[in-house]
């Protein structure tokens, strides 16, 4: 069996907020959750999607940090900013293509998901992937995923031509190899409405 990895499957998310609530229980960021739960378009759907750190191979947050406060562990976990170094400039907040890092004004420091380093390093699952009732957040082996799920995990994302590889996998429909996000070709609801009007 290979090592366990993190998988996100937003199609299963029921928007319950258990992940958000459980994350806040961690004794390293006491009472503050590192997960955002996005409600996509409540007017038309109950779809929600959890956003956790994707742990990029070459993290943009770390690259733009002028204080070199964001470190990636040898096993690929991108950590919260180091307290003595972080100058609270929020560069990372703007640079992250997934919108993960958060600036916590109370402690004047950037905090982000570190994949429950305290738990995973002793063989436990991350907290959110333990509690998630629908297993939209799952921590398991690639074999388990292949045997159990219909979708395909991908960890390659193209943002405006730039390829980003991540430690965390996103479940997408079978056959999809990578996700391309191109602001120029993004479909907005207003565009659809306008098209409908033209017709």
């Amino acid at each position: 069996m290979s090592e366990r990895q993190f998988y996100i499957d937003p199609s299963r998310c029921i928007g319950c907020n258990a992940c958000v609530a459980a994350c806040a229980e961690c004794d390293t960021h006491r009472g503050v959750s590192m997960i955002h739960l996005e409600t996509i378009q409540r007017g038309d759907s109950v779809q929600t999607a959890p956003v956790i750190c994707m742990h990029c191979d070459e993290p943009a947050c770390a690259a733009v940090c002028p204080a070199d406060a964001i470190k990636r562990t040898p096993d690929g976990v991108v950590q919260s900013s180091l307290k003595p170094r972080c100058i609270g400039c929020t560069n990372c907040v703007f640079a992250c293509p997934f919108g993960v890092p958060k600036y916590d004004a109370a402690i004047d420091q950037m905090m982000k998901c570190d994949m429950c380093y305290d738990r995973t390093s002793i063989g436990k699952k991350p907290m959110c992937a333990t509690v998630c009732p629908s297993r939209a957040l799952m921590y398991g082996t690639p074999e388990e995923i292949a045997a159990q799920r219909h979708g395909t995990p991908i960890n390659e994302f193209i943002f405006g031509g730039r390829t980003i590889r991540t430690k965390v996998n996103l479940m997408v429909p079978q056959g999809t190899k990578r996700l391309e996000v191109n602001p120029g070709t993004m479909i907005r609801k207003s565009d659809l409405l306008n098209q409908a009007r033209v017709r």
């Binding site: 319950c16 258990a18 459980a22 007017g43 009732p133």
Partner: protein
């Protein structure tokens, strides 16, 4: 004198809800726990395994319990934040009495109990024993439920005892008893995994039974198809294979339509029907008497979708049908349940792997509570209070002459009606907040104000207890040992993690002391601890359909729960019922029942043209007595709202996010509109967990199902209007 002693604002300022956000001592000071207590969440019928972190006699946090087989560590946000009900600033730390103009003031236990007993005895001497009623709740353990049942009948000697499960599982229970002779989920959830078609009727699984979501998804991973019957696109309906957006109150028309299609397409198992069931001919004829177009017109579901659902269900090799309050909270709740059971029986898919049926019990101990204690028509072991042998047996266990055992009393709503009429003069309540949870809150408030005496046992001062004369500070789930029974029928251990704080006492000791003071101590004095109560419960349930005799504390702990019926110590328990296809009815067969459609108590008319349906949100539990005090949960959904379809909203000029007024024949609320396409255009939805001006139950109807006496929460009619912001 059950009027408020001071204005409600003053009471809420003193007794909350206050929002508790952080563990005792604050986030920064939380230290390592001294112990982890393996117990269960108290906030829904799934009863997830959870470990509470305890330090210095305080619950300071939680840790998932990944070994517990039902949920394997999974929790919804209520389970995650549940520990914040401990060390809560609103917690009642001493008994109190009502003082006009002042509010509630602490008194000694002696004074509180003396007053209660004196008043109850006065009322009973003057107006008869049944002028005192008791209302209970199924957040209580099996032990406490059993104790309440015995206390009311043996110590208070009243027949007027009922419970908040009346607002939850009674339609399912009645339907199950009629069809199967037993009231329990027919299968453990493990059979969901093997099902090839899963039909969910009136259950917002994602929000009200979140862990079940994972069972359904795992079945879908193996190719199962999911059909959801719901007026709203709930989170599970969003991705299901077939969504049937039924008009509230028209479930039976839809289900009968499906049965008709199955008959016409030969998708029924006549060999099974012939051998193991009765009542098929009438049920078949009644289904064939309903034209499909009629079923479609009434239910608002397209003919082709009814056919599609019937074909999917009919052709499935294995299947699981789940239903909940969506079909049960109706004046024809029992009929709707029976219509579901008919679909199961017609295919013979029961009693084997992957073939199942269950109601999703909503309340924490909804299952065990109704079996052993406080339902007005039942005795322990799911026995019938009017059955002579059952009466004889329980009277014997309790050591009283059979004729002293009270007879069947009234249901919760009927008790409130009798209070309103002045026939019931005094009330003892525990673990029930009817002012928020019963329909027609204005009526309930008026009724409460007519009580001559009211004693409330609770850990927080809930909205109903505002009307009390005496408040007895009781205990939380994590402050006493005991057992409860999950939605699956699995009997599990509830562990004591901490002692009740301050001068608060355990619910058990309060009831025992009251029994003593009522002069009935000799029937209760052998209850030295929770296990002693459980051991009497085992004997009392022996030979009943809900037989717990073979279940012990030790077994539950060793086996991570035991499924009843379990009649002998050596018996393995029964995760799956009906494996031999012998049913618990007098003739041993499962019974079909015709369920012809009939209208709801209220249907839309010119004056009140819009249908209102009510329900829950994932972050709140029932009347919110506990969950409206937990900051992290309140933040997820701070107040109720109105889900309304854009076409309906547009017709009335109601904008998304703007305030709107909703008015029924009984009351009104003004709430924020949530304009969404995920609801039927003729229906609005409001979650019900809030009191006062925010209460959905200001609007709902007190009409009851004639058999189960469940109120019609899922359908009343209203008129709506935008509210212009004051300029």
């Amino acid at each position: 004198m059950a009027k408020l002693p001071v204005p409600v604002e003053k009471l809420t300022a003193q007794f909350g809800p206050t929002l508790n956000y952080s563990p005792v001592g604050g986030w920064q000071n939380r230290s390592e726990p001294e112990k982890l207590v393996k117990t269960h969440c108290c906030f829904c019928g799934q009863q997830c395994g959870i470990q509470l972190k305890v330090r210095g006699n305080r619950v300071i946090g939680f840790e998932p319990w990944e070994e517990f087989p039902f949920n394997r560590g999974k929790l919804c946000p209520k389970g995650v934040k549940r520990y914040l009900q401990d060390n809560h600033p609103d917690r009642l730390l001493a008994p109190m009495k009502r003082v006009e103009g002042t509010g509630f003031v602490p008194v000694s236990w002696d004074e509180a109990l003396d007053t209660t007993v004196r008043e109850l005895q006065r009322v009973q001497a003057q107006f008869g024993r049944d002028a005192v009623a008791m209302l209970s709740g199924v957040s209580l353990t099996n032990e406490k439920s059993y104790l309440v049942g015995k206390f009311a009948r043996v110590a208070l000697q009243t027949k007027e005892l009922d419970y908040n499960g009346r607002l939850c599982m009674v339609s399912a229970g009645t339907g199950n008893k009629k069809a199967f002779g037993i009231d329990r989920a027919a299968n453990s959830w493990a059979d969901i995994l093997e099902a090839k078609v899963i039909l969910c009727a009136g259950t917002n699984v994602a929000e009200c039974s979140p862990i079940t979501t994972d069972y359904i998804w795992r079945a879908r991973d193996r190719g199962a198809k999911l059909i959801m019957i719901d007026p709203r696109v709930t989170p599970m309906a969003r991705t299901c294979d077939l969504h049937l957006p039924v008009r509230p109150g028209a479930d039976s028309a839809l289900l009968v339509g499906m049965l008709r299609v199955m008959i016409e397409q030969n998708l029924v198992d006549l060999a099974f029907i012939d051998k193991y069931t009765s009542g098929w001919e009438e049920t078949r004829d009644s289904a064939l008497a309903m034209p499909l177009e009629e079923a479609s017109r009434i239910s608002g579901v397209r003919v082709e979708d009814i056919v599609k659902a019937a074909t999917m269900w009919g052709e499935a090799p294995t299947s699981f049908l789940l239903h909940a309050r969506g079909i049960e909270h109706h004046t024809k709740g029992v009929d709707n349940v029976l219509a579901c059971i008919n679909l199961v029986l017609a295919t013979g898919r029961l009693g084997r792997p992957g073939c199942g049926y269950a109601t999703i019990t909503g309340q924490g101990n909804g299952q065990g509570g109704r079996e052993h204690g406080h339902k007005c028509d039942q005795l322990p072991g799911n026995r019938d209070i009017e059955n002579p042998q059952h009466r004889e047996y329980i009277a014997h266990v309790w050591g009283i002459p059979e004729e002293e055992l009270p007879r069947k009393g009234h249901s919760a709503q009927e008790i409130m009606n009798l209070i309103h009429e002045g026939q019931i003069k005094a009330l003892v309540s525990i673990c029930f907040n009817p002012l928020v949870s019963l329909p027609d809150s204005n009526f309930t408030r008026e009724a409460l104000s007519r009580l001559e005496h009211y004693t409330a046992i609770d850990f927080f001062l809930n909205e109903t207890a505002h009307h009390a004369d005496i408040v007895l500070a009781g205990s939380l789930h994590e402050e006493e040992e005991g057992t409860s029974t999950s939605a699956e029928g699995r009997v599990i251990r509830i562990r004591k993690a901490v002692d009740p704080p301050g001068d608060a006492r355990t619910d058990t000791s309060i009831l025992l002391e009251m029994a003593r003071r009522l002069g009935r101590g000799k029937y209760f004095d052998h209850f030295t601890d929770s296990e002693a109560i459980f051991n009497e419960l085992r004997v009392a349930s022996k030979g009943g359909t809900a037989d717990y005799y073979g279940i012990t504390y030790e077994r539950i702990e060793n086996e991570m729960g035991v499924f009843w019926p379990c009649p002998e110590i050596g018996h393995p328990g029964t995760p799956r019922l009906f494996e031999t296809l012998k049913f618990h009815t007098p003739d041993g067969k499962a019974h079909f029942h015709p369920t012809p459609y009939r209208p709801s108590a209220e249907e839309p008319d010119e004056e009140y043209p819009v249908i209102l349906t009510t329900g829950r949100v994932v972050s709140q539990y029932l009347s919110g007595t506990q969950t409206r005090r937990i900051g992290g949960l309140v933040d997820m959904c701070p107040e109720p709202y109105v889900e309304i379809h854009p076409t309906l909203a547009q017709r009335y000029g109601i904008r998304d996010g703007a305030m709107m007024r909703v008015e029924s024949r009984r009351g009104a609320v003004v709430l924020k509109a949530k304009v969404v396409t995920t609801i039927r255009p003729d229906t609005i939805f409001i979650p019900y967990h809030w009191p006062g001006d925010l209460a959905a139950n200001n609007l709902t109807n007190r009409a009851l199902d004639p058999l189960s006496k469940i109120p019609e929460f899922k359908k009343s009619v209203v008129r709506i209007a935008p509210v212009e912001p004051a300029s």
